[in-house]
């Protein structure tokens, strides 16, 4: 059993990281360029294909430029790896790895499919089935700021330094909102194991689409009568989703919040002094973080690998409630499709929304999202607690407490506003 577990884990690690995520990283750079091009009425890289003319064929195969990431990689490896004389070498060399590694490490708790039974052993399609899923991701993913800050500091020149400092400040201000926004979700599920969270969602409806129940029926009469709480919960969960997604944008240094590397102000930001594969590593880290972010959003809010709409139990389960043998594959496909859709959403937002000013970014993090997430926790707690404490207590204590919290948050925001105005005059 133990031996089998080790083999299975090794296969999962190799398969998931090297055969799925690394190509996905490469192709998300390609998608970034193609999707951005299409959004802006351009063409994008559509030339690199198989150079068949080199082997005596009449025409090159263009393949819509799908070989482009490979060419980029080759170019990255063949370029001169230049280290400026004024950098602090050890940190300068370590920084790209510090950026790329955490993103890949945090992948290991993401469940990418339902359990598969092979030779009588049940294999969970997650590399590390630990009970602290989201917390692990937050802990590891926030390490990647070290890479950026170190890169900024070790480069020993002004623009990278500013980029590093910005990244540090931004990460701190959004980490709080990120952590707080996921608490209502954890209140609702009552557990931190991501596989269990997804299994629950597969049976009872996605967190943002609670449209079906454990019987697998889409909308059914008794369901409407009994689970009104679920519909009410949509409000705090919606806020959670919004704050969480925006914080993930900030966490991965994506466009509306890409101040650490904004080209117009800081040349290239923290990676100004980097070239060739070290620079490419920063990029890989960024895209891997984006993939982890979208996978996490999909896992927590959009049902992870489940097909949804009651299809899981209707199509993929036997009458005893076990998964059919091909269910795992379909679930992996569903997970991948959802993640890719979310990556495309990330790209779409990047090429639509202009960059925030730095004070706007800070204000959004500390004054808006922090308060909103905090208030959201109380709201979710009240909605979850309401059936247990009874109607009277809800109205006597729950709602006044909620209003007081809301007012408190509002006045904190206002206080900040007043001070800002006083400074201007």
């Amino acid at each position: 059993m133990d031996f089998f577990f080790i083999i299975a884990s090794a296969v999962k690690i190799f398969g998931f990281t090297f055969l799925v995520i690394l190509p996905l990283v490469a192709y998300s750079t390609y998608a970034e360029r193609r999707v951005s091009a299409v959004l802006q009425d351009r063409v994008g890289p559509n030339r690199v294909g198989i150079p068949a003319t080199l082997f005596g064929f009449k025409k090159d195969l263009k393949l819509f430029g799908l070989i482009q990431p490979l060419a980029d990689g080759v170019k990255g490896l063949l370029k001169e790896d230049f280290t400026p004389a004024h950098v602090r070498k050890s940190f300068y060399w370590m920084a790209p790895a510090f950026t790329a590694a955490p993103a890949f490490v945090s992948l290991c708790v993401i469940p990418f499919g339902s359990a598969v039974t092979i030779f009588g052993y049940e294999i969970k399609m997650v590399i590390a089935d630990i009970g602290v899923g989201p917390l692990f991701i937050f802990a590891i993913a926030s390490l990647s700021v070290y890479g950026i800050t170190l890169a900024g500091w070790a480069s020993n020149s002004k623009y990278p330094f500013l980029g590093g400092v910005r990244s540090c400040a931004q990460m701190i201000s959004y980490e709080i909102a990120l952590g707080l926004s996921v608490i209502p979700v954890l209140l609702f599920f009552g557990k931190l194991n991501l596989s269990d969270i997804v299994t629950y969602q597969a049976a009872n409806g996605w967190l943002l689409l609670p449209l079906w129940n454990e019987n697998g029926t889409l909308i059914h009469e008794a369901y409407w009568q009994t689970s009104s709480q679920q519909w009410l919960l949509l409000l705090p969960m919606g806020i959670s989703f919004f704050v969480f997604t925006t914080s993930i944008f900030a966490e991965t240094n994506r466009m509306p919040f890409d101040l650490p590397e904004c080209e117009t102000e800081l040349v290239g930001g923290y990676h100004t002094e980097y070239s060739s594969m070290k620079f490419a590593l920063f990029f890989m880290g960024e895209y891997a973080a984006m993939i982890v972010g979208s996978a996490l959003i999909v896992t927590i809010f959009l049902g992870g690998w489940s097909l949804g709409f009651g299809l899981d139990s209707a199509l993929l389960q036997t009458s005893e409630g076990d998964w059919k043998w091909y269910a795992g594959l379909i679930h992996m496909g569903a997970f991948l499709a959802k993640t890719v859709a979310f990556i495309i959403f990330f790209i779409w937002v990047r090429w639509t929304v202009p960059r925030f000013r730095y004070d706007q970014l800070m204000k959004l993090g500390w004054v808006v999202f922090f308060e909103l997430a905090l208030f959201n926790i109380f709201l979710a707690a009240l909605i979850i607690a309401a059936p247990h404490i009874g109607l009277l207590n809800t109205f006597l204590f729950g709602i006044p407490a909620l209003v007081i919290t809301a007012l408190l948050m509002f006045f904190i925001t206002k206080a900040n506003e007043v001070r800002r105005k006083a400074k201007v005059t």
Partner: protein, 188 residues
């Protein structure tokens, strides 16, 4: 200078949320994406696009038909309809050329030549296309209407030497140009 005080626009509460504006932006980019994919991008037809966005894809499609008359491409020497090479090697272009791309070695026209009274013609005429900045000053300064900037723009070569246009090549590019002032003809 009058000082214009610009008032910040007053935003409604829902505008303060910025979400409607972001949503609007997303819809606009999505519209562009869909139009681009359907080959109906705004202005695509006027710009002769390749069908994806408004971009013309270069080696397959070329802008030649749309080039304006005043386009400044490769400079070249011309002959007129009497097959006379118009350059008299006065070297004005050589002197005016800002990047010093033109090198002329003047030569004499033999006395038995029907155009002997022109006296001079270039022995060698080189334009270094690596140096040329396509300013058109040579054309402007030429008193003989001998050098013109053509509409060709795709000058390529694999060595520096290949990028130097010599006299034969320049006449080949320039060809015969009609309707010029033939001031060396006999008066009638």
């Amino acid at each position: 200078m009058a000082i214009v005080k610009v008032k910040r626009p007053k935003l409604y509460w829902y505008e303060h949320l910025y979400l409607p504006a972001i949503l609007k932006g997303l819809i606009i980019t999505l519209k562009h994406a869909i139009a681009s994919l359907r080959g109906k991008a705004q202005g695509g037809k006027e710009l002769a696009s390749s069908g994806l966005g408004v971009t013309m894809q270069y080696p397959e499609q070329k802008w030649d038909a749309q080039l304006p008359e005043y386009y400044r491409g490769v400079p070249a020497l011309v002959t007129d309809e009497q097959k006379r090479e118009r350059c008299v090697s006065c070297q004005l272009c050589e002197f005016i050329c800002p990047p010093k791309a033109i090198t002329i070695m003047p030569g004499e026209i033999q006395s038995e030549d029907p155009w002997a009274k022109v006296e001079k013609a270039p022995q060698k005429f080189d334009i270094d296309m690596i140096r040329c900045i396509y300013c058109g000053m040579c054309e402007e300064v030429c008193p003989e209407q001998a050098i013109f900037l053509r509409q060709d723009y795709a000058m390529t070569g694999v060595s520096r030497l290949e990028m130097v246009n010599d006299k034969d090549r320049l006449y080949e590019i320039g060809g015969i140009r009609e309707g010029l002032v033939n001031k060396w003809n006999e008066l009638k």
